[in-house]
């Protein structure tokens, strides 16, 4: 049976170069980079090489990379680290309603500790308004945290405008960006965007699981989250995950090697997939200007047009959120699964435990569609054939599934 793995925003298949590199380092260079003997030195060399590669992708300094166990730890370190280090400067934090739980849950914790959190809403495409941000920033605002790419609908946030506004209104305020869905899908130069902290997770771009990093601009005041043996200059104790970190660097290198061509290819696939989706009855695409029912699809040539323009009009290259009227997302998910197609439900609802997606609510999605939304997420491995197969399956399944609905 043909398979189509379209759940790359959940996790990706590692590059074979990554699994090879991880296995090799794990097996051969098992020394502790803190050890003083040769074995330790060899391991440290891999760390240095990894750092050099990552630094190259961000145009930053080696001292600005803090290795973590992944996106969640990076986000937690950013939020608690800044909140605690700067508690005397202020206790106000700004974030958005559509962040990942790795941001929202620490925020809820900080609220209990006495911090005040302001939440930015979004427009119908999932984008925050920099003007609204400007009105919220106060002298006691210590941190603003905004995601690069929304994980549910692929909205790209106006980070450049946000960064400018923050530094204009309160230069002391720290700007954190959760780039878990954005890194390796975009060239992000933190300095250009006034970003002080940025979270990255390796397994979202074909690296190993359980490893990631937090970019920390030099001289940013931040407390550690984990204490112990004092590794990474005391910012994150614990023996470095050398094979994982090296694997992450290999994945980053490979992702950025031919990024633009790869992005153009993915945007081409995304555009065609979206067009074919909306040609099915009562299917709508979320978060893309011009993809509302009845609207004309943006005439974009993914091959030649300016990349900034493509981004502006089509959102993230890899995420497509679609609502299927009259079909419960969980049922559609399992029906697709039956055909070897793997996707995510936008907002999984069960009869005894409703869960409503904050992102889908924030973009004002119709109530009856909240439970009818599916996320397709692609990667560099995604092929035209997989998408064609998926469309074929959808055309095949939807009429049957729509006949049997709850009344």
């Amino acid at each position: 049976m043909m398979e189509a793995y379209l759940d790359n925003s959940a996790t990706t298949r590692p590059y074979s170069e990554v699994t090879d590199a991880v296995a090799k380092v794990m097996y051969e260079t098992y020394g502790n980079p803190s050890s003083m003997h040769m074995m330790g030195v060899k391991a440290e060399k891999y760390l240095t090489e990894a750092t050099d590669i990552l630094v190259g992708t961000l145009k930053c300094r080696p001292s600005e990379i803090l290795y973590t166990s992944g996106g969640t730890e990076s986000d937690n370190t950013a939020l608690f680290g800044v909140a605690h280090a700067r508690r005397r400067s202020g206790r106000h934090i700004i974030t958005t309603r559509i962040e990942h739980p790795a941001i929202l849950e620490p925020c809820a914790c900080l609220e209990k500790e006495g911090y005040e959190i302001s939440y930015l809403g979004t427009d119908e495409y999932g984008r925050i308004d920099p003007d609204e941000l400007e009105t919220l920033i106060r002298p006691d605002t210590i941190l603003v945290s905004i995601m690069h790419t929304n994980n549910e609908i692929g909205a790209l946030e106006p980070l450049e405008a946000a960064g400018a506004v923050i530094k204009k209104k309160n230069p002391e305020c720290i700007f954190h960006v959760d780039a878990v869905q954005g890194y390796a899908k975009d060239t992000i130069i933190p300095k250009k965007l006034n970003i002080d902290l940025m979270s990255v997770s390796a397994h979202k771009f074909h690296g190993p699981r359980g490893v990631g990093f937090l970019y920390i601009k030099d001289k940013t005041r931040i407390d550690p989250l984990i204490y112990g043996g004092g590794q990474q200059k005391g910012m994150r104790s614990g023996t470095e995950n050398v094979p994982g970190i090296y694997g992450m660097a290999v994945a980053a290198k490979k992702s950025y090697e031919d990024l633009e061509a790869d992005l153009r290819r993915m945007y081409g696939l995304k555009k065609q997939f979206m067009e074919e989706l909306v040609s099915i009855d009562e299917v709508s695409i979320n978060g893309i200007p011009g993809m509302d029912p009845g609207c004309v699809i943006p005439a974009i040539d993914a091959g030649t047009e300016d990349m900034a323009d493509i981004r502006k009009r089509m959102g993230a290259p890899h995420i497509i959120s679609a609502s299927f009227e009259g079909v419960r997302s969980e049922v559609l998910l399992h029906a697709l699964e039956d055909k070897g197609i793997y996707v995510s439900a936008g907002s999984a609802c069960a009869s005894n435990r409703p869960h409503v997606s904050a992102t889908l609510t924030s973009i004002g999605l119709r109530k009856d569609l909240l439970d009818s939304t599916i996320r397709f997420s692609m990667s560099t491995f995604t092929t035209r054939e997989e998408l064609d197969y998926t469309l074929e399956a959808l055309n095949d399944l939807l009429p049957t599934l729509r006949r049997f609905t709850r009344h």
Binding site: E330, H334, F404, H407
Partner: protein, 395 residues
């Protein structure tokens, strides 16, 4: 070292000539339960008593063994005992004193009573003498204890049989009758709270349990099925291995949905589930169906609805929860450990297509008339559903 447990059982001792069979079944169930702990063990029967000897190896854990025994129906009490091979009276006194000292380190003000039983009438002291002399030995060693023969805090039992047992702790067992002494039943198992409890209740009366689960992919997920397997596994700690039959019900459900009034969907669906369960029951030697229904809990469980579902069955349908309130059922499910799994949020096929206002007082003649809309294909679909039977042996 060996840890010995004296197993008390009451009800099965009353069963006259069948007693032998019941004890045999109880021993089997005890073996099944203790084996799971991974310890070396032996079960022996002597003079109307069952003893479990468990070797004190690396795998041994007191709580784990007691917990395993608490899952065996037929056991009324579990007594960790000191087992003396030798009936030398000084040895008995010494062991009794040691036991009281070790078990009750804070004895100030505690009262006790010695309860001796002498099965061997040729023993040189009678029960009264044993009581008095052992009591005296304890008081000599620990003057903080007091004797109270009417309402003692501690009952110290001394049983003189082929060996001597000394114990003061009786841990309550689940009661009931050993599984395997009352035939076999087919449990309709959903992912909900009620049906695992129903299985537990009937198994408690000695009934061996098989189960059937109706799976409706893609409307119910693989995880919903796994949840049912997990529930069966929890129940199987009480019942022994369960043969879980998984039947793909989607086609029948859809067909009913298309051909019959939606407010009668659940009732007609349940009639077909009962029919299928009955067929499997008959093929596999079950003498009745078991469901978790309780009167009036939902639309399909009114007296009228139950009459309609019953009408398709010619073997008995046992509904052990029939008079229970939801909170009473929840209480049992928490006690037997199924509750946390039951409330996991996965759809079962009964809730997927449920109508907003299902009939609560269905009339059998109306239901039967509407079922005639199904004549064309339903027999074939039922046969095909039976062909999908996937048997999972849960233990």
């Amino acid at each position: 070292m060996t840890h010995t447990f004296l197993i008390k059982y009451a009800e099965i001792a009353l069963k006259g000539k069948n007693r032998h069979l019941f004890e045999e079944a109880l021993v089997q169930q005890i073996k099944y339960a203790v084996k799971k702990t991974g310890c070396e063990y032996a079960v022996r029967r002597a003079q109307g008593r069952i003893y479990v000897d468990v070797e004190d190896g690396d795998a041994y854990d007191d709580d784990e063994v007691i917990d395993a025994l608490k899952h065996v129906f037929g056991i009324v009490g579990i007594c960790p005992i000191i087992n003396l091979e030798d009936d030398d009276f000084e040895g008995i006194c010494r062991a009794a004193v040691e036991h009281m000292g070790a078990e009750y380190p804070e004895r100030e003000g505690l009262t006790f009573k010695v309860n001796a039983r002498r099965a061997r009438k040729d023993y040189f002291k009678d029960s009264m003498e044993i009581n008095a002399d052992v009591g005296e030995a304890i008081l000599d060693a620990y003057p903080e204890f007091k004797v109270d023969v009417h309402h003692p805090d501690i009952n110290l039992y001394i049983e003189v049989r082929e060996t001597v047992s000394i114990y003061s702790r009786v841990i309550p067992g689940p009661g009931g009758m050993p599984v395997g002494t009352s035939g076999k039943g087919m449990l309709l198992l959903s992912g909900g709270i009620d049906s695992p409890v129903a299985g537990y209740m009937v198994a408690k009366r000695g009934v061996k349990i098989d189960a059937v689960y109706f799976h409706a992919p893609p409307y119910t997920s693989e995880r919903a099925k796994q949840k049912v397997v997990d529930l069966a596994r929890i129940v199987s700690a009480y019942t022994g291995p369960i043969y879980l039959h998984v039947i793909n019900f989607t086609a029948i459900q859809m067909y009913i949905y298309e051909k019959c009034p939606h407010d009668e969907l659940t009732i007609i669906m349940r009639r077909y589930m009962m029919k299928i369960a009955q067929t499997i029951a008959e093929d596999t030697g079950s003498m009745g169906l078991i469901t978790g229904e309780s009167i009036g809990q939902v639309a399909s469980q009114t007296m009228q609805s139950l009459a309609c579902t019953d009408e398709v069955c010619h073997i008995p349908v046992y509904r052990p929860l029939i008079g229970f309130d939801k909170n009473e059922i929840v209480e049992i499910s928490q006690k037997i450990g199924t509750f946390e799994t039951s409330i996991l949020p996965y759809e079962d096929c009964c809730t997927i297509f449920v109508a907003k206002h299902p009939v609560t007082k269905p009339r059998l003649d109306v239901i039967v008339r509407h079922e005639q809309n199904l004549t064309e294909d339903i027999d074939r679909l039922v046969r095909e559903a039976l062909d999908t039977d996937e048997v999972i042996i849960v233990r």
